[in-house]
Amino acid sequence: MKRRAFSLLEIIIAMAFLSVAILSMFWMNRASNQGSMDAYYEFLAFSLAREPIEVFRGFGYDYLKMIADGNVAPPAWYPVGSFNDIDFSLMSDMQYPAEARLFQRQIELTPVNSGKLNGMRIKVTVAVKGQSRVEVWMSRKSVSLESIVMERPK
């Protein structure tokens, strides 16, 4: 009596299809995971870049010029001119997401002018710290954002 069954070939073919399907799902899942984390860290990096621009806009041109000229020191949270860790303590007024520690930030102030108009160009670059997990997830190593704060009438 002969029983009906799948042949080996059938099983192999089925397993091959199944493998492709499962691997595709895994790949898609991994890619989705990668993309989500990339988007998250990009979002975080951009937020970290935006923050000093907003704060510096509030300072106004005159104060920024004094900082750029070296006449006054920038606020401790916003060092100017070089990459610095975004460090904070739980007790400080300034709070960031924990992953912010995984980034470094550079704030650059450059005077610009056109005719009688004077402004201060602010460029903030947020870069991934080396040897951090962000390096794994984030596709770009740094993001930057720029704006200008104009001299205003007194």
């Binding site: 009596m1 029983r3 199944l18 399907a21 499962i22 799902m25 898609m28 899942n29 890619a31 989705s32 995971n33 993309g35 989500s36 990339d38 988007a39 998250y40 990009e42 979002f43 951009f46 935006r50 621009i53 806009r57 610009v112 002018n113 056109s114 005719g115 009688k116 108009l117 402004g119 160009r121 993001v143 954002l145 720029e146 704006s147 200008i148 704060v149 104009m150 001299e151 205003r152 009438p153 007194k154």
Partner: protein, 682 residues
């Protein structure tokens, strides 16, 4: 017969279950992937939107500063569009649906330059526009401001959006709309010298080289010395200015009253012709006897004596060979002009005192020259109000008896014919050799005149027909070389009222529309912080009207330079150094209300010095040193007695105040009154 085993009932269930699970897992994975793509898209959108927002914010700041700077320059195209409310920028009467049809492009070169250096920024179009969305050219009572003056709202709009070729890849965009209030105020307003103003304008005072609002009160209170000072000399010099560029002069008289300037020797050509008139009325010998009663009595005594010695009776006496008539001459009225002429100063003083006593007025015994206004030929174009010249009209009785013979008619009793006897008394004749006997007004003069001329007889019998025979201090003629010309009364206006005023003391103060002031209640410290007055740089930066809370000193560090046009209002201003305008067409107005403006420098001051108050009316300008003003001077009172003595103060009118058109200033508020930001194109 074969019996096939029945298939197991659950055969294939596992397969279908596995497939089902696979499908579910697959769907979840797809959903996860979809969400991931959404997250990535959101992150990208966030980045592009944030970049667009930052660039739009930068462009907005740049656009504001561009507009701010352009509106500081009355010659710029944008300034003219804004103040003239040209059709392309004025959306104040446009419906909201169509408001985007209005607006002029504002360049944002710095922002565009920055965007071009950014990988994603270079894919953006950044456009800035400005338009008027509201403008009020009348105040809260509905009274209209002058010309283009008013308070408005300027809308600045910046759109940062992807260029068309990148719109599929980039969706981030940003539109920022801001409103800034602004004020348009006229610092100089058009005025032609041949016409009067028809409505109030805050700068009306700049029409005048010299304006004394309460001049009549001051003039009357000190018997004219306000304009004819004892020890000060003030010259208003407009030499070289054409009549349409010259400043007006108003010395404060009310409509039905007048003020005068004393005529001195240098201006005796002002005195109307004829300045000398001979033989107005020739008189006979009998009239001479009536006019000169003392002489008549002497003649009579001698006649009686002669008649008596002959035993006759006196029948009368007569005179022949004499000259006797009334004449007049017109002289300057001042001491310096009359002192060299024998007795003339005394004659004038007697006339002056008599008139003053009769009119119950106080008059100084000394008479000083009045203000000097140059050029004298063009006075009819610049004088306003009833300004008169005061000179001495010397009416006198001329008599000369050098060749005179006096005859007495005597008749002896019993004789039918009279006998004629000549009186030969050289002493009697010699006292009337070429004499000018002043004819004072009998109603004014109660003293004894030379040879006791009968003033009452002259007044009652001659002066009614020939009034010019009487001495007088003449104030009937305008202060003009052609005294017949008339002078207009200035047109002035009560605050916000359209009707003109007769009485200058009721006139509105200059720059009275506080709604149009750029800044109020600024402290002297803030004046420096705002960069308006920077003593360290010796700069005064004017733009519109600024009111300061405390008295200020300008030029303590040395001569200062004025840039821009505007008005500085303070409760007391001291000028310690020269003031020089950077731009000849600009205007610097220093204004106090009820407080003095003190000038402590001999350096050239290029400014309008205005000290005119509304409730406090004691404003004046005082020059403690020789004043060298190029601008104009206006005050409640002139108060010349407080000015430095023994020097010649000079006011030169600045023709920039008669520029032929209006000079506006625009003050754009730093404050944002409305802001809307949307991360897409509207």
């Amino acid at each position: 017969m074969h019996h096939f085993p029945k298939p197991a009932r659950r055969s294939g269930v596992a397969m279908f279950s596995a497939i089902f699970v696979m499908i579910i897992v697959g769907l979840l994975a797809l959903q996860f992937h979809y969400m991931t793509r959404q997250a990535q898209s959101s992150a990208h959108r966030f980045q592009t939107s944030e970049m667009a927002r930052q660039l739009a914010a930068a462009a907005m700041e740049e656009a504001f500063m561009y507009v701010h700077n352009e509106t500081a320059n009355p010659g710029s195209a944008f300034f003219k569009k804004l103040t003239g409310r040209s059709n392309d920028i004025d959306g104040s009467s446009t419906s909201l649906d169509n408001k985007n049809s209005k607006g002029v492009t504002v360049p944002v070169a710095l922002t565009l330059a920055q965007a071009s250096t950014m990988p994603m920024g270079s894919r953006l179009n950044i456009d800035a526009t400005a338009r008027i969305i509201d403008f009020r050219n009348s105040d809260s009572t509905g009274a209209k401001y002058y010309g283009n003056e008013g308070v408005g709202t300027l809308e600045l709009r910046v759109i940062a959006e992807p260029k068309p070729e990148f719109r599929k890849q980039m969706q981030g965009a940003c539109t920022i709309t801001r409103h800034h209030d602004y004020k348009v105020v006229a610092i100089i307003t058009r005025r032609t010298n041949s016409t009067q103003r028809s409505a109030y304008a805050g700068s009306f005072i700049l029409d005048y080289a010299l304006f004394v609002r309460d001049g009549q009160e001051e003039f009357d209170a000190i018997s004219g010395l306000s304009l004819n000072p004892a020890k000060q000399k003030l010259t208003i010099d407009q030499t070289g200015l054409t009549s349409d560029k010259a400043g007006k002069i108003y010395l404060g008289n009310r409509r039905n009253s007048s003020v005068y300037l004393n005529i001195d020797a240098a201006r005796q050509n002002f005195i109307p012709e004829p300045r000398k008139k001979e033989k107005i009325l020739q008189v006979d010998d009998q009239a001479v006897f009536k006019l000169l009663p003392q002489f008549f009595n002497q003649v009579r005594a001698q006649a009686e004596k002669a008649v008596k010695s002959k035993g006759a009776s006196l029948k009368g006496f007569s005179m022949s060979g004499h000259s006797a008539y009334f004449e007049y001459k017109r002289y300057p009225v001042t001491d310096e002009a009359l002192t060299p002429i024998k007795d003339m100063k005394d004659f004038r003083t007697a006339t002056l005192a008599g008139e003053a006593k009769f009119n119950n007025q106080k008059e100084s015994a000394e008479v000083y020259p009045g203000l000097v206004i140059k050029p004298e030929a063009g006075l009819v174009d610049v004088l306003e109000g009833d300004i008169r010249q005061r000179y001495f009209h010397f009416g006198y009785f001329y008599v000369d008896m050098t060749n005179c013979k006096i005859w007495v008619k005597a008749k002896k009793s019993g004789q039918s014919e009279s006998e004629t006897i000549e009186i030969t008394d050289p002493a009697l004749i010699n006292q009337f050799k070429n004499r000018q006997i002043p004819c004072f007004d009998a109603d004014h003069f109660t003293g004894i005149t030379d040879n006791s001329i009968d003033l009452r007889y002259i007044k009652d019998n001659i002066a009614n027909t020939y009034p010019e025979v009487i001495c007088r201090i003449d104030k009937e003629n305008r202060y003009l070389q052609n005294a017949n010309s008339t002078l207009p009364h200035p047109g002035m206006f009560h605050f916000r009222n359209s009707g003109s005023l007769d009485d200058a003391t009721l006139a509105s103060v200059p720059f009275a529309q506080v709604n149009l002031w750029a800044r109020r209640n600024v402290t002297p410290q803030q004046l420096q912080e705002f960069g308006i007055y920077v003593p360290g740089q010796k700069k005064l930066n004017l733009r519109g009207i600024v009111q300061v809370t405390e008295a200020i000193t300008l030029g303590a560090e040395g001569n200062i330079e004025v840039e821009g046009s505007g008005v500085l209002i303070a409760p007391g201003i001291t000028i310690s150094g020269g003031i020089k305008k950077k731009d000849a067409d600009s205007a610097c107005v220093l204004l106090t209300r009820g407080y003095p403006i003190t000038v402590n420098t001999t350096e050239l001051v290029e400014a309008a010095l205005v000290s005119i108050g509304s409730s406090n009316r004691n404003g004046y300008v005082v020059a403690n040193k020789k004043l060298n003003l190029r601008g104009c001077l206006a005050a409640d009172r002139l108060n010349l007695a407080k000015w430095a003595e023994g020097v010649e103060h000079k006011i030169q009118y600045d023709p920039a105040f008669k520029r032929g058109d209006d000079l506006y200033q625009v003050n754009l508020a730093r404050w944002v009154t409305f802001e809307r930001m949307v991360e897409q194109d509207e």
